[in-house]
């Protein structure tokens, strides 16, 4: 099976800023590939290179077997794109934009278009100016999801959508991939990628830092637990994989490596659980934790990453 997207050593600079610094990305045909990274890490730049909108400075980029820069028009017939920040023409209606983008891609299935408009509860008669952010996003999503293409390139597609619409989006993507289509899904929300993704690439500062299946990434994730037990909480500090433990008599909050979650639960059950909330880790937490040392080194001292503004600036000024 050939890769739908294959990028290696991609470099893109804007003046003095090195937006992409040797990025690698492999997306196999037929998979949903999560493309994760904090804000400003180079996700959108990578996508624009894949769309042939930006010209790479170095590195090899293949998309659907072609060169995205030279074969842009031909390749674009076979893909659909949802930008992270959807801007519409103020005096065109949503329905007109959906048709316009579909036609320019080389035709669109009217039945499927109408189905998507209904599914996403979009009013196609409203003018671009009058749509809210979420509705603008829906226009771009409907235009992309209604098209019969091999590859969907989605740049933070659910930003601005309500949870109900997010669920509709996830169902639709699952349907689409069932037909053997490929999806590149950029996001900074780990849960969204977990719900849909087969494999994930995590990038930071223009470089790929991790790539693999979600199961392989378990070692990166920690779950935050807040628990109330029948008796005083004891023995948790002795368990491997438990971090940031705060015990207040029979209450405790701590983070636990997802791989060690089972052990921690077993121990808590022995204490008698009265109440328990758990929170999946956010990507930012993940990054701060996993690359925290690296970050604080980069930003000039311990606490640089966590303290962000003040500490970082002070250290910067001193250095």
């Amino acid at each position: 099976m050939t890769a739908a997207i294959s990028v290696s050593g991609l470099v893109k600079t804007f003046g003095h800023v090195r937006a992409l610094d040797g990025l690698d990305l492999e997306v196999a045909t037929g998979e949903v590939h999560g493309f994760l990274g904090p804000n400003g890490s180079g996700k959108s730049t990578t996508i624009r290179v894949l769309l042939g909108l930006l010209r790479p400075d170095a590195g090899a980029v293949r998309l659907l077997g072609g060169d995205p820069w030279h074969d842009a028009v031909e390749l674009h017939r076979r893909l659909a794109y949802v930008p992270g920040d959807v801007n519409l023409w103020p005096n065109l209606t949503g329905g007109e934009v959906v048709d316009l983008l579909g036609e320019l891609r080389g035709g669109l299935d009217r039945r499927r278009r109408d189905e998507m408009i209904e599914r996403f509860d979009l009013d196609p008669r409203k003018k671009g100016r009058t749509y809210s952010k979420g509705n603008r996003q829906k226009v771009a999503l409907v235009a992309a999801l209604a098209s019969d293409v091999e590859l969907l390139v989605l740049d933070e597609p659910t930003s601005g959508l309500d949870p109900l619409m997010e669920a509709v989006f996830q169902d639709t993507v699952r349907e689409i991939t069932g037909d053997g289509r490929t999806v590149l899904l950029s996001s900074h929300v780990l849960a969204e990628v977990e719900a849909l993704g087969d494999r994930v690439s995590i990038i930071r500062a223009g470089r790929t830092v991790e790539s693999g299946t979600l199961a392989e990434m378990r070692h990166l994730t920690r779950t935050s637990i807040s628990v109330e037990t029948a008796g005083p909480v004891t023995g948790l500090d002795a368990l491997a994989g438990v971090h940031d433990l705060v015990v207040d008599d029979h209450r405790a909050t701590f983070d636990v490596d997802t791989a060690r979650l089972d052990d921690a639960m077993r121990h808590l059950t022995s204490l008698g659980i009265r109440g328990l909330t758990s929170q999946p880790p956010t990507l930012e937490e993940l990054f701060l934790r996993h690359y925290g040392d690296e970050l604080s080194e980069l930003e000039g001292g311990p606490g640089g990453a966590a303290g962000n503004g003040a500490a970082g600036t002070a250290a910067g000024a001193a250095g």
Binding site: R48, D99, L101, L104, D123, K127, A143
Partner: protein, 551 residues
């Protein structure tokens, strides 16, 4: 940005201390916004002021150099008193046998138009353009009153116009002209500009988007020029219907009349009142007319590569075409009056004979040049459309479809080239139709249409230049394109007067077009201009294929 945030915050505290002052609430935050706008436009406003004052000053000083003695002034003035053509273009001939009067006449209506444009662009930028982009919402959510943004825009623009007027007065005084006339001229120029700042403020309340607000203001500015042209050619009564007529009737250096300034001031106050009243009745972000639901599906042709371009640009094209065709009709109807003069004044006939062609034809050539230069504004704005689509983030989804960059930018270029050619043809035809109707010669329609089309290659060069810049130097595109257009307008309207060196004049493509119908058709310059336009367009489209897109 720090200023923007700090300003309203400080106002918020002040408002918290004195909650009883309800009356002025709609203006809360005005001063903070004024400071903010001055900060934003710290370069833009001085550039406008310097451009206008330098143009006026150099026009004035070249008139002075041209006619050093009273005898020279008398000789220059003599043929002008009855010259309907020049009066229609410049204004009434008050005291043109004096240095001051001649200067005011030579700068003419063009000077007022530029003041109006400065007012329009500065006010529009901070009212409807900000509102359309959602920035007004951000500001209005702080302690900023409903009328504060438009008031701040008017105060800053009015300040800029007042400084311009004051500097015009000073440059006239520096040339040794009488004080009263110099003050009157500076005041008339500034007051006219301020009036159109008010017009823009009202137009910005009416339309939902900034472009049509400019369209309305520009049309009214053109109308005030045309109405005063009709009035000045006649007995002057009609000129009182035009604010430009009011400004002219201040009569600098010709027995100043001060009360028309009050007319302009009262008009401005009334306009601001209308703007406030409209603001109180409409939603933020909305226009006077609520947006109606549109078509749920696209028409068949919208999905073609040129379909969207036509859809996006057709309203602009129609607006420009109707404005210029109207002007063409008016100027065509004046042609007969010009013909009558040939018998009356031998001196005029001599001057014209030296230039070649008849008086009527030279009048039409001058009028067509003026209208063609104005059409250049359409050519540039239309050719710049892909740039605003790109910076507005709307090009990216299009270019991610099977639409090629060449098709996309090419369709906008075609619209600029085709649209401007169409406007020229329609304007020439309208001029020929009214003139032909009056003199009973249907042949004037093809004749003047052809003459108008002679200017088309110059417009193509402007469109080609904008495209070349868009492909090669995208960030400089807008500024350089408009600067070149402004230069063409300056050379076209004031070039003779400014006594510019030939190479500087030659930058304008309009300088190379034969003055049809006064002169015969000369093909070589037209062919060369067309080739230059084609080369520029090719460079632009090739550059666009090579550069990063979508930022």
């Amino acid at each position: 940005m720090t200023t923007a945030v700090a300003g309203p915050e400080r106002t918020a505290r002040a408002a918290g201390v004195a909650p009883g002052r309800r009356r002025s609430r709609t203006l809360a935050g005005t001063w903070a916004l004024v400071r903010f706008l001055v900060r934003l436009d710290r370069l833009r406003i001085p550039v406008w002021i310097a451009g206008i004052v330098l143009s006026v000053w150099s026009s004035a000083s070249s008139v002075k150099a041209f006619y050093p003695t009273q005898a020279d002034l008398d000789a220059a003035a003599e043929p002008l008193y009855d010259n309907v053509a020049v009066i229609a273009l410049q204004g009434p001939t008050y005291a043109i046998d004096t240095l001051g009067g001649n200067i005011v006449f030579n700068i003419g209506g063009f000077g007022y138009v530029i003041m109006g444009l400065m007012a329009m662009f500065l006010v529009g930028r901070h009212t409807r353009a900000d509102e359309e982009a959602g920035r007004t919402e951000l500001l209005r959510a702080t302690v900023v009153g409903r009328n504060a943004p438009v008031t701040a825009a008017l105060l800053v623009t009015g300040g800029g116009l007042a400084v311009t007027g004051a500097l015009i007065t000073l440059s006239m005084l520096a040339l040794g002209l009488p004080a009263a006339g110099s003050v009157a001229y500076g005041a008339a120029m500034a007051a006219f500009g301020v009036f159109f700042a008010g017009v823009t403020a009202v137009a910005a309340q009416v339309t939902e988007h900034n472009r049509p607000a400019y369209g309305i203001t520009g049309a009214l500015l053109g109308l005030s020029f045309v109405v005063r042209a009709v009035g000045d050619v006649g007995d002057g009564t009609v000129s009182w219907l035009s604010p430009m007529g009011w400004a002219q009737s201040v009569r600098p250096y010709a027995g100043e009349r001060w009360w028309p300034l009050l007319l302009l001031a009262a008009g401005t106050v009334a306009l601001v009142g209308v703007a406030y009243a409209l603001l109180a009745r409409r939603d933020l972000g909305g226009g006077l007319v609520a947006a109606r639901p549109g078509q749920p599906t696209a028409s068949r042709w919208l999905g073609r590569p040129w379909g969207l371009t036509v859809r996006l640009q057709r309203a602009t094209l129609l607006a420009w075409a109707s404005g210029l065709v109207t002007t063409g009709i008016v100027y065509g109807s004046l042609g007969e009056d010009v013909a009558d003069l040939v018998g009356d004044s031998e001196q005029v006939a001599d001057v014209i004979a030296q230039a070649g062609g008849s008086l009527t034809d030279s009048y039409f050539a001058t009028s067509l040049l003026m209208l063609a230069v104005i059409t250049g504004g359409y050519a540039v704005s239309s050719a710049l459309r892909p740039r605003s689509e790109e910076t507005g983030g709307r090009a990216e989804p299009l270019l991610a479809t099977a639409l090629s960059r060449t098709q996309w930018a090419g369709s906008h270029l075609a619209m600029a080239v085709g649209g401007s050619t169409l406007i020229l043809a329609a304007t020439g035809a309208a001029m020929g139709a009214t003139y032909g109707l009056i003199v009973g010669d249907a042949g004037q329609v093809p004749r003047l249409t052809g003459a108008a089309l002679g200017f088309a290659p110059a417009l193509w060069v402007l469109a080609g230049l904008a495209t070349a810049l868009f492909g090669v130097l995208p960030r400089a595109t807008v500024a350089v394109s408009w600067a070149v257009f402004a230069w063409c307008a300056l050379v076209g309207f004031l070039g003779q007067l400014l006594d510019l060196p030939q190479w500087a004049m030659d930058v304008s493509p309009f300088e190379h077009v034969p003055e049809l119908p006064a002169q015969g058709v000369e093909w070589p310059p037209l062919v060369v201009l067309t080739l230059i336009a084609a080369a520029l367009a090719t460079v632009g489209l090739a550059g666009l294929r090579r550069r990063d897109a979508g930022y």
